[in-house]
Amino acid sequence: MTLASINFTLADGRDLVYLLVGIGFILALKGLSAPRGARRGNLVGAAAALVGIAITFTDPALRDHVPGVSHGLNLALMLIAMALGTAIAVPAARKVKMTAMPQMVAIFNGVGGGAAALVSITEFLKFPHGTVAVYKIFEVLFGVVVGCVSFSGSAIAFAKLQELMTGRPITYPGQQAINALVGLAITALVLTTLVTASVPIMVVVLILGLVLGVIFVLPIGGADVPVLISLLNSFTGLAVAASGFTLNSNLLIIAGTLVGASGILLTRMMSKAMGRSLPNILFSAFGSVITAGGGEGGQERPVKSGTPDDIGVLLAYARKVAIVPGYGLAVAQAQHVARELADALTAKGVEVYYAIHPVAGRMPGHMNVLLAEANVPYDQLKEMEQANPEMSTTDVALVVGANDTVNPAAKTTPGSPIYGMPIVNADEAGAVIFLKRSMRPGFAGIDNELLYDEKTTLLFGDAKDSLQKLVAAVEAA
């Protein structure tokens, strides 16, 4: 009796600590509401997670006598797995290039989904037969399916981004029908399992979940993948919440639900910024066809290209220059040189600002992260809404590796796939300069009229090289 009551107090204390961990996670997310407290917030979250993990070592499951369980072995395996995980994750996370961030996030998300699915599977195997409430079985199956979809879906997303496979959408006839069929099969089998609690059927559900993840992601184009990752992130969150219901853990429910809700919201905000609906992103195999001439050669319309020296002079004698960064800047890692150019221009008395499109690059806020890395002063960074009114008084718009996000077709061509997406109005500036390597289109695979405009000058080459030449030219001017 006394012992039981002590045990009880311990369990109670542990649950209280878990509540504090949950609060820590909420504070971590709240910290992200401004750049200022964001990093501290993340550290709070990490500390909370650490506390949560540490306190779990006091769980009676690690000590209570169960026939056939040797706690020493289990504990050893646990510590090995954790050490191994840390040993792999830390260097990987430390070394990854900023441009490869989306892949990294995809892989971490996938393993989380896998872990949640494994928890649910093991709990299923432990169910005593015939005595389990239907909703318990449902929680478990939900965790299995959603976790598996998240796992295999993230793996394919990773492969696409890492260019282990083509980034173009993979389509085949009857694709939607097949996907729907798999979905239906899963639903039917889940319903069967609710009644039978049969392990073999659960295994089939598990496999179908993995299959669904793959075929769900295949038709989604490489550049839509970040939106997809955010959605899969939300799936993992829901799978974790489901494990929380199964294990009666408030903490897992809170953490999982927070992520689930935030992922869905973030997905919607991203698709809105891209001017498209979520179903359109998921099911339209966007980018599978190149809709305009573009491509490698096409009909060779005339464009005006300039030398670094000409352009350097143009920039140095302008009053106001807007730098419009895009995906190419990220690929070329040209953010530091871009800042050097801005500094050189500022030194010449030119007013310089960066016009940041919300979905420039391949991740939301991609450009902000890069330019922050290059220590660009905050007051030079302008979000699209603030930048656009200034464009008409800007002398030169210097477009560095951006394309779709300055494509006027979004405003003028109702049939265009990007029609309706808000763009940076570089076309309203006095002159436009494009730094890119070729006439190839951007992510959306469509031609950009602005390239052929008479006030446009192109400077072909890698963005970093071109910028370096421009810095020299400006300093010489």
Partner: protein, 121 residues
Amino acid sequence: MTVGIIELLTIFVLAAFVGNEVISKVPSILHTPLMSGSNAIHGIILVGTMVVLADAHGPAELVLGFLAVLLASLNVVGGFVVTDRMLEMFKTKPEARKQGADNRASDSATGDGANPGGKPS
């Protein structure tokens, strides 16, 4: 036991509201860190995998449990480290940053800490 399900549902609903409200205040420049930060948070499934592995018996359960702990550790550790790396770039204060851009040389002592990310200009 079954009384608990309503409490769990209540917690679920409230957490969903909290997530929704908090996230809608995150500015778009922080969306990428938000994605990886929330990714790290669901890594807390590690706690669940630990409990599962703790009383696993038989090779099947042991292997599943081991894998689960491994995957979850990857998620939680990697998630927080990656997020920290991203947010490190946002760390300098606006004021310090502006000054830093203007008179960088004289400023390095007063800035809050070293500046490993940025190259010297």
